[in-house]
Symmetry: C2
Subunit: 105 residues, 2 copies
DNA sequence: ATAATAAAGTTACCCAGGATAACTATTACC
DNA sequence: GGTAATAGTTATCCTGGGTAACTTTATTAT
């Protein structure tokens, strides 16, 4: 969801494409985030679109969560050398390519 | 679910422990598998317990699915050397240990 | 310029798979 | 024999995914 943090604002279709999810799913999620005050609508030229962006609260929460995740990752990877991490990421990437090269999943 | 294939039979609590899931979840799943004819109840000493085992149909289906999965895995791992696979598994294991060594998740 | 088509969202459903709380029936234990 | 614990079930809730059908607005083609 917090594609918005890095891209500023995005329409629902953008988000659903990014997330690999159908439009109604994003609609629902966004409604909830809006109710929770983490996200708000911004005006748009095209009256079909409904671009959203994070509120100040949303940004704040995002940063907190981001921090928690980063700390968690750091803890989890303690004792795994950088070369090892790179190796694993490389191999996983290869596997992913194999998956995508034969009907999606 | 197909812990049953390798262990012959198991009670619902056994299965829920194995799967890391609550009892009602297993109850529901087992009811569905039973309706589908993949699993049946076996008699038990302890009248509280309800040990289940695969039916012939269940075994057959299990083998088919197993085969499909194995083929998929093989395809996906094509081009990844055995040493690489072992390395990745080792590192993932380390990470898992780190996760478990600090409150579950 | 208008009619047809496409795109963005929304609404009303459905489904799977997880959870809790509260309960019954059976067995174990003091 | 009465209290504890254990196995399972029922009812209900939640999340996060999906499809189908619809409206509103833009785009495209005639």
């Amino acid at each position: 969801m917090y594609y918005l943090y890095n891209f500023g604002s995005a329409t629902l279709v953008e988000l659903s494409t990014y997330q690999g999810v159908e439009k109604p799913t994003i609609t629902r999620t966004m409604n909830r985030l809006e109710e929770m005050g983490y996200v708000k609508q911004v005006p748009s030229e095209d009256k079909r679109e409904k671009p959203m962006q994070l509120t100040e609260l949303g940004v704040q929460i995002y940063k907190e969560v981001r921090l928690t995740i980063d700390e968690f990752e750091e803890n989890i990877l303690k004792g795994i050398s950088e070369e090892e991490q790179i190796e694993v990421i490389r191999i996983m990437g290869e596997i992913r390519n194999h998956i995508f090269q034969r009907g999606d999943s």
